[in-house]
Symmetry: D2
Subunit: 355 residues, 4 copies
């Protein structure tokens, strides 16, 4: 299938009309880069309900018909993770570019197969790591890449809320992909996790962890910690990123001040030599930097993600969150699952570097 | 030394005029149970500054003179942890009741020696686990003991802020005693930690952890997680306590609503059998409980702690936070330090049950 | 035009494709009570953009054609306030039920003409006072009507944010209709404002007030105060409702705790006779009631409003926010404008009772 | 009485051992500028309780003896407002410098008498407008005086909480002195209120207003609005200061971010000529400035106030919050009381300019 001219919209089909599919439908419809052709779901009436009573988009349960449609150049998959391999592989083999909801696949072996297939065919395989395309995360990435925060020293992320206990996956596979994909996205070149330990609790006898803690070791000595929880009555989505120059706090639930950047000033070498009084003065002085909350545009992340997908397809270059990034996230999840089953043992991430 | 009649104030001396000593001085002076006789510090001018220019209390650097004073029945120690053994042991041997700032001692071996000495002499050895005496923690204890929260399933505590990098101890030994003593205080009889794993990072090359995460396994299968951090530009002191009946959130920085008690309602057995639509309805219904923020009196914790110290001395019964509780806290810290040094390996708490 | 059977959807046209129209389009499309036939705007390309490239709804700039369409039984108007009289009157004269965005009309004289025309023709004239249909306001109304808060004593509402300086109206006419329609909606029968005073400031030389304060006197002696502001860098939407039994706080920006209901306990008669110490105890005791945050469903207000519109049309009974309620809001705004021009003089609301 | 050399502490007596007196006692004791000689209260046992069982300061009920003590050069008065004239006048006539808790006196006539007496005798008469000496207000003053906020356009202050209904004064006289003294303190030279209107409600039949709203007109056309309330279950202390260049928000209950300074950018002249789309873009752009939260030292305001009192006494120059500033605050309160009694009529502030 030839690359589109930059003037023609890219024909796209969405597969999966459950929780996430409708968001893709809405954003592809709003984009001039794409022309939405199909919404495909095994339950065609669900697809029809999502489209509503006023739409010209076709609903179907027949994936083969969608893949046989030459006006479709791209397929966006929002089905359960266990089906990603089959649906995405079919689409790639039909020559379609593929966008997959996180996680990329149910295992890293499956993910590797998809990445290999897409690379062999020269197709764009993109993972819908939506949060990476929020104005906040894009800014954080910029601040880490251009050195304004200094070198990353620790990252602490809390993502907790009441959430439905999933039938097939634990809370780690449900929620941590957000944090892990963000981490993968913002780390400067050369910085990467090398090991992970995980603890969890099956609070309600659900047969899988509903509360989990992941600790990642980076090759720089930095640490990243992630707390995910389905059962918290309070909703918290806060990430603290400690850099050698500044510390950033991202509170995603505070729309008027999502990012706060603090000057840091503690310098342990100097405090070591000081007396008590001097150290107290020191403490005061390192609190004394101003805090800046940069203005961010309010833009739906999915809109930016859809643009990046179009850019990737049109340019023939990998998306910012390409299949390989999806694969790195799965590799960590798999290692974390092994750690969880083994009492929190630190598990090395060989897959990460190989991916 | 004979137990005081309940009418005479108990003569007390404070040892240590650094950060915490002045708070003890102020609260002993405000209590009718005690008569403050001495403030002792190796730097006598520091003791004099703390007392100020209008006080009738004596400042001294001579601990032996204090211990030889028959009008002194009790000694409160607020010196660095490394000196607790020596000062407390001298006081006990002089027949004084002893209150020690947390942690009880620099090691569990030292702590055991103090506990044994106090018990042999029939003296009250109390650990100043101040937070246990806040109205919030007293209420939490009551809610767990009387079953209103149901069985504890998880506890998540975050205690982070900018703080002075300590010369002699890491962040875990500095801050986690608060959380561990609270945990020890609120757990119902028969429930106890059995293992701990810890991860940490020396963010700024201080030679000791400035960020640390502790995961505790309880004998009931519950999990407790503690995040302590000296280097966070935002101050957070929030604990979530998930019970089988209700979930409680304690936000110590929100004076008008420190405790929030949420009805919980997720029941995984029933959701397993349901379809997607039903599960979504389920989700709505389990969010639908009201939240109650109980009224709490505003009372300084140290005032209540001082009352408990007097009660313990006068009744000859252990304080709520006696030496043994201080010992249990140290045992966990030691195990956590071993875990920290060993890549986060889960370390069993034999000391805990023996203590 | 005969009333629909309860089984057939009501044909509806939306007039105005600016800021608010798209929300009406979306909600009418999602409702099984309605069938959206037209989106009408003088700028037909704007209407087409709103409908998007996948819609079967017709865009037009020809209002006469819409009004001549027999399949249209209802018209929803979201055009500038200055055009409400003309568009709504045409629709009523064409026998259509009419929904009008707030404010009902540009003056109470215009509003009275619309109300009279609708009543003469037996058509439903409804004002889209959207906030009245939020779960929070519906609950507040219930709490005031069933006596749980006791008698209303004061209401304080703050609605401030950065907002576009409007070309044709001041901040009072732009934002206060929200608060005034809520007040009208929640007051129990027999309770009504009788006078209003207003102060404002044209902070930026815009030729109209950008900051305004309204004080309303009620026939019960209660007071209501409204602060509206286009130029606040912080967004606040908080209403405090003091009742004789309980006080309610509505913070619309806190989705996890929009409503907080506090027991009140101050009883001035008893405190008068007390000494200082007793009064201090008193203070403590009247703070000591618990706070309850009732669970609210999260439901889009416009969806409930659209249902109420259908109910009104089908039953032939006035909507909860009918034309008369819209008229009462305008009467207050007119009196407030007179007060504003006259140095904050208290202006009596004769129009209110006559309306 | 000769002015002290700058090396000798100033002998001081505190009169009044009720709510505020103990704070003065504590701060005078901590200051090397002063030597506290007496604590005087009609109820001497109350004075003794305040001093506690360890103090060398003398308690007395005999004001005459205090005033006759030559080692006392200054008197700090924390008695009920109705007694300020008598106590302060006696002290001035005895040649003592005088510090008075707010309000300066019970009426402007009384206040003028005190100011005249102090000026005649060359004594420092200072009003303890404590809030003016907080780091936040000192910074706000600096930002308004040096032009960083531009010209003041509006000030909105909310100071609400549960508070004891006072026996002798309404909420306006109890709480608004804080806001009015701050306003007086921060306004640049030449800017002053010229009129005030007030509305209030006696919510609970207390015989005096428990909720009040003050609107002040300034000679520049700016507006200041103050909401004070004894009966709010939520505590709010937020002031918004809109300047022609920047807008500042002071949230006194957020210790980690008391001040937030926002760039503003709306420029109505330019938006007038723009179309809808352009105006929307405009809106985005004027939101797009960063916010800066300047670091503030945490310092007790009373400590700074006590230093300023010493400076005033030693230098023979008026304190920043001298008697005249106290007089200006009373003049506004009196005018506001007249407005309150007269239905919110705007009352001109002749007293202000004469004071």
């Amino acid at each position: 299938m030839s690359v589109n001219s930059s003037h023609d919209p890219i024909g796209v089909a969405v597969v999966g009309a459950g929780y996430w599919g409708p968001n893709l439908v809405r954003n592809f419809q709003a984009s001039t880069d794409f022309r939405l052709r199909w919404l495909c779901d095994l339950d065609v009436s669900r697809a029809e309900r999502v489209l509503g009573g006023y739409s010209t988009v076709q609903a179907t349960k027949d994936l083969a018909a969608v893949l046989a449609d030459d006006t479709v150049q791209a397929v966006a998959i929002a089905t359960p993770a266990g089906t990603h391999l089959e649906v995405a592989m079919s689409a790639l083999r039909a020559g379609k570019h593929v966008l997959v909801e996180k996680p990329l696949a149910a295992s890293s072996a499956q993910g590797r197969a998809l990445v290999a297939e897409a690379e062999r065919r020269g197709l764009s395989l993109m993972c819908d790591h939506t949060y990476c395309y929020t104005p906040a995360v894009l800014r954080i990435r910029e601040l880490l890449h251009n050195g304004e925060l200094g070198e990353l020293q620790y990252l602490d992320s809390v993502r907790i809320n009441l959430g439905l206990v999933q039938r097939d996956i634990d809370v780690m596979w449900d929620l941590a992909p957000h944090d892990l994909s963000i981490l993968d996205f913002i780390l400067p070149p050369g910085v990467a996790p090398v090991a992970v330990a995980a603890h969890g609790a099956d609070r309600i006898g659900a047969g899988r962890a509903c509360v989990a803690y992941l600790t990642l070791r980076l090759n720089t000595g930095a640490i990243a910690h992630i707390h995910v929880n389905w059962l918290s009555p309070v909703k918290i989505r806060t990430t603290i990123i400690g850099g050698s120059k500044r510390t950033l706090v991202w509170d995603d639930l505070n729309p008027s001040q999502r990012l706060s950047i603090f000057d840091r000033g503690v310098d342990v070498a100097s405090t070591e030599e000081l007396g008590d009084e001097q150290r107290r003065d020191m403490l005061v002085s390192y609190r004394s930097g101003d805090m800046v909350a940069p203005a961010l545009t309010e833009r739906e992340a999915l809109r930016t993600m859809v643009e990046e997908y179009a850019r990737s397809i049109r340019s023939g270059t990998p998306a910012l969150t390409d299949g390989r990034s999806g694969l790195r996230v799965i590799a960590i999840l798999e290692a974390a699952s092994r750690s969880l089953a083994d009492g929190g043992r630190l598990v090395e991430l060989v897959e990460w570097t190989e991916a």
